[in-house]
């Protein structure tokens, strides 16, 4: 169970297992990148980059969840996301939260 609220409604947090996180750096191949560059001139949505961020976000969440599972947690509360542009065209995504056990 992954939520970004501090508690899970209807459940009691029994144990705090610390901060867990997952991050990933991804980029699109150069063809899509050049396409996005030309789309950028005309303005509007850059679909290639939306896709890229969607992929990297689910990967970061999956890594965070496996980190929590390794600690024996069954839920992650208060999840936050951070994005940073490490280099142009690549994005670093970081998802973090508190691993807890709930009943």
């Amino acid at each position: 169970m992954v939520v970004n609220t501090e508690t899970i409604a209807g459940k009691v947090i029994t144990q705090n297992l610390g901060v867990v996180g997952g991050s990933t750096v991804r980029a699109k191949h150069i063809g899509k990148d050049i396409g996005a560059l030309f789309k950028n001139i005309g303005g509007g949505e850059l679909k290639a980059y939306t896709e890229l961020l969607e992929e990297s976000r689910s990967e970061a969440i999956a890594r965070m969840v496996s980190d929590a599972a390794a600690r024996g947690a069954n839920a992650i509360v208060n999840v936050r996301f951070a994005t940073s542009a490490v280099t142009a065209g690549a994005s670093e995504l970081f998802a973090y939260g508190t691993a807890v056990t709930v009943e």
Partner: protein, 213 residues
């Protein structure tokens, strides 16, 4: 991921090594027989650089051809596309409000909910949005006079509304009844081929979906 990284680094190292090796061979041959021409070795030495410069030249030609076309497209259509997207958004927003009975998104923590909550989970949606170069030019001219820069403001608000609407649609697709503790993040995203150029904006909305018991 790791395997791809390893492959790329191996490829790069072997390319560099082969260039070094061939230049060494060429130099040795040049020492031995200065009169003799060896076009094959010359091609092998210059090959990688030639390929890179050819690629750059091809990109330059494509850029020179397409930039004016895309710029004109921006001049004519960027405002119209923005308005069309905005009116589409109003319709989509109306249909999802009809589905939920109210606007599902809220920044509340959920303490106000009296009845039981059966299930919770994370919902997120994002969009990467960019102003056209024409709009940036107008913004740049506006910057000289100062004050409000409505062009860019409109682009960003459409991007943000789009992200919020996608969050609503995602919540609807996942079957949540309500979305609590919604956060909206904005980050910069730059195309790799033009690092100093225009910034695109990434809007990311996320929240906790709940199902009433």
């Amino acid at each position: 991921m790791r395997s791809i990284d390893a492959r790329v680094s191996t490829l790069t190292v072997s390319l560099l090594l082969s260039v070094l090796l061939f230049s060494g061979v060429a130099m040795a041959q040049a020492d031995e027989a200065p009169k003799e021409d060896s076009p094959l070795i010359l091609i092998l030495c210059l090959g990688p650089f030639l390929l890179i410069s050819l690629g750059a030249a091809a990109f330059g030609i494509i850029w020179a051809l397409f930039y004016p076309i895309m710029f004109l497209y921006g001049v004519i259509f960027s405002e119209r596309n923005l308005n069309r997207r905005m009116s589409g958004l109003v319709l989509r927003e109306g249909s999802s409000i009809e589905h939920f009975g109210k606007d599902p998104l809220s920044t509340l923590r959920g303490n106000h909910i009296v009845g039981g909550i059966k299930e919770t989970g994370l919902v997120y949606a994002s969009v990467v949005f960019a102003p056209s170069h024409w709009q940036l030019l107008i913004a740049w001219i506006n910057q000289i006079f100062g004050g409000r820069i409505d062009v860019i403001h409109r682009v960003i608000s459409v991007g943000r509304a789009e992200a919020k609407q996608r969050l609503r649609e995602q919540a609807q697709a996942d079957g949540w009844d309500d979305v609590l503790n919604v956060r909206i993040d904005t980050a910069e995203m730059t195309p790799a081929s033009n690092p100093k150029g225009t910034k695109a904006v990434e809007v990311f909305a996320y929240g906790t979906g709940i199902k009433f018991g």
